[in-house]
Subunit: 168 residues, 2 copies
Amino acid sequence: MPTDTRDRILTATAELFRAGGYHGTSLKQVTVASGAPIGSVYHFFPGGKAELAEAVLASSGASYRALFELIADAAPDPVAAVTDFFDGAATVLEETGYLDACPIGTVALEVASSDERLRHATAAVFASWAEAIVTRLTAAGLDEATAGDLATTLIAGIEGVHAQPRRP
Amino acid sequence: MPTDTRDRILTATAELFRAGGYHGTSLKQVTVASGAPIGSVYHFFPGGKAELAEAVLASSGASYRALFELIADAAPDPVAAVTDFFDGAATVLEETGYLDACPIGTVALEVASSDERLRHATAAVFASWAEAIVTRLTAAGLDEATAGDLATTLIAGIEGVHAQPRRP
DNA sequence: GTCTATAGAAGGATAGAC
DNA sequence: GTCTATCCTTCTATAGAC
């Protein structure tokens, strides 16, 4: 399969971003973790690290959105949708020892004031999540404004939870 | 004043961490922003970048805690304390164009799984904040467990808010 | 305590054979 | 599409004069 290598680079980089963020991840690590040589990385992402990061943010963002939609649409009501989603996140955090966070939030904090292009990529992901949430909340009867505020609050909550390190 | 340089290094680094995080900040930037030569940085922080980061986390963490305590103790009740604090954070975010985030949260996400020492430093800060919140909530009549859970939620909220980039 | 110069390693990126 | 070798820059850290 020809695009197999590209996918491996994408998922490996997403995993590295979860652990070390954008600046904490080197292309050398990407080659080792993905098994792809540096030449292939630049073949699929001619724009280098920045273009790779942009693709990772978009693809990871879409995955998390799909996961939320899957859980939400299986839940009987919006309240259950939210608690199911947070319960799932809590389980993952517990099972992984609170080591790996959300690649979007980590990168978003790093690049907010320094990289216009990547900031846009993170903002697009959060906007997409908000849309998925708002759609379901308005369908359940909430007005647009309340649904939007609640979506922002929920996204802040899930991101903030991931910022908490393991204690001690 | 002999420790003046040390303070300038500390505050300059905290500002840089807010913008670019730990890995996104170089010691060269620290020297430029603080006006202190690299020799002085290593004079005050012989352990290099890691030791400097540890000091920045502790000092910034203490400042934010003090700010919360100031606002909370001026508020008539716990609910007002929380809304006053979040309102203050919102004002700062608006005034700065959502550019600079929380140095603790940013670094916490970067180092959670890669640097044991810095992870401890971030965990200590969050624990200190939680203590400040729990003290006031239990004084207001909440039981210890509920106060602890609420403190964690509030900290997650304030951190998650800072992870949101400016839109568009 | 301050400052400069520099060592030594690691980073991103490119060229070109295959 | 894959892989290696290599260039240039930047980074952390150290040495030593002042």
